[in-house]
């Protein structure tokens, strides 16, 4: 297998882009990635997206976006794995280049959530779960997270304040980030006095609704002088039903993907300089640190509140704000994470820069941990 390099990255700001369509956003990110890579010569296109079938009634995104980029004729398709779509699409793109089947692949994610009414967006996000027996109960994505949030507090005796600190840290990190949707500080008091979204989760503990697109261009390492290499990618599936997990606070897919990605890369936890994790609410961010293996079970919230995930801490986490503060344009989110890790390793993270970052890990999660993609990038 060939080594693969990240040759170009392109991001749109995450906003409510009332004046831009799904296609407009994708084009913007893709063209920026071409410019950054210094080439628009690609032989395959992977488009990651979760909600367009529901929110725009739009499918066949591969052909649509290839046409929009003037690339008719190439191999093009859409990749969907709920909110892990971006991480899974990246994994597929890496496989295509590593195998030698493709020499230049664009992996782009896009989501345009503001086209849907609030109850449509809520229903769309719940499509990650079984429609006949899970979503059928009327539970939402945030409601699923709330079941584990309450159980975490009750089992480990952890307070609401410590868990809410995950969002506080994200907002601190997003300050100065040009693509972040909410680049400002927020206090624990403000979070815990916001309305309940799904008890015990407050509205300001949840990632918001945003539109955005992120794209990366992959080529064989060594051919272009690119300084960021894909050390490994891994995707794992886990229990589809929350009800059947031996422990609802353990996401086996996250553990499996993390173990595999570290093994493939020949790295251990101590080699990782920064992580981007999937905090669609505060509790999933906390559990990510535990399931990725950086912190013991039940210790994640304390680890965060003690400052160890800060930019100058032991494990800088969500260095551009994460889903909560950078934003969560669902199908594109996994590619924002990968692009952000690449910017860190290039030293192009601006005010968000983690000094001396050599190796970074991104974790993209679909459903309530039923799919997980882990990507590890390193400086060459």
């Amino acid at each position: 297998m060939r080594k693969v390099a990240v040759s170009g990255v392109g991001l749109t700001g995450i906003r409510e882009h009332w004046g831009k369509s799904l296609r407009d956003l994708f084009e913007e990110a893709a063209l920026k990635a071409f410019e950054d890579a210094g080439t628009d010569d690609i032989d395959a296109l992977y488009v990651s997206n979760m909600g367009a079938a529901n929110l725009q009634r739009q499918l066949n995104l591969g052909a649509m976006m290839a046409d929009a980029l003037g690339k008719r004729g190439i191999d093009a398709l859409r990749v969907e794995a709920a909110s892990a779509s971006g991480g899974v699409a990246f994994h597929e793109g890496v496989k295509a280049v590593a195998s030698g089947l493709c020499d230049s692949v664009l992996v782009g994610g896009v989501e345009k959530m503001s086209d849907g009414l609030p109850d449509e967006v809520t229903a769309s996000l719940a499509m990650a779960e079984d429609q006949e027996y899970t979503a059928y109960t009327g539970i939402t994505k945030m409601g699923m997270n709330a079941l584990i949030h309450r159980h975490y507090m009750e089992r480990f005796g952890v307070g609401a304040e410590e868990i809410a600190m995950f969002a506080v840290r994200g907002h601190e990190h997003a300050r100065g980030c040009p693509h972040a949707q909410y680049p400002f500080k927020i206090s624990v008091d403000r979070i815990l006095s916001s309305p309940m979204e799904a008890d015990p989760i407050h509205m300001l503990e949840c990632a918001g609704i945003g539109d955005g697109a992120a794209a990366v261009l992959l080529r064989p390492a060594g051919e272009s002088g690119d300084c960021v290499e894909v050390a490994s990618t891994a995707v794992a599936s886990g229990h589809y039903y929350l009800t059947e997990r031996p422990d609802i606070l353990t996401f086996e897919a996250v553990r499996g993907a993390a173990a595999r990605a570290l093994e493939y890369a020949g790295l251990s936890h101590g080699d990782i300089d920064l992580v981007e994790v999937h905090d669609d609410t505060t509790i999933t961010g906390v559990l990510a640190l535990e399931d990725l293996g950086f912190v013991d079970n039940g210790k994640g919230a304390t680890y965060v509140s003690e400052g160890l995930t800060a930019r100058d801490g032991e494990l800088p986490t969500n260095t551009f704000g994460g889903l909560k503060a950078r934003g969560n344009p669902v199908g594109a989110t996994g590619l924002y994470q990968v692009a952000e890790v690449a910017l860190q390793l290039r030293g192009q993270a601006g005010p968000c820069q983690v000094e001396g970052a050599e190796v970074g890990l991104a974790q993209s999660v679909g459903g309530l941990g039923s799919t997980c993609a882990v990507t590890i990038l390193r400086r060459r």
Partner: protein, 131 residues
Amino acid sequence: MSVPRYWREIRYRYRLIGERCADCGALFFPRRGACPQCGSKNLEECKLSERGTVASWTVIRNPPRDYGKYSPYVVALVELDDGVRVLSQVVDVEPDEMKTGMRVEATFRRVKEDGSSGLIEYGYKFRPIIG
């Protein structure tokens, strides 16, 4: 939703029927092609317990489409007395009366009404056991 899609789940949703693995004994819900424990295809239908205990719960305040008229409502992770866990709304209780560990029993209720097809859907919900 089409009538057949609703109709084919009636047996399981109305009566709370899961499956038991004839090889490893695992009991699970909902039904599927292979045992989630051992992968066996040797499965038989099994009526689940209708009583259980709340393991965790939430209150849905921003519901998905078609559920708005019931909001806010409680959804709980219920551990049945036979060990199977199900996700279900808990009714006949105010959110501020909910507690982890509460004993609940299955009841048969209206779940939602589909505006475009006119279908009225029913299924299990749970309610506190009184006394």
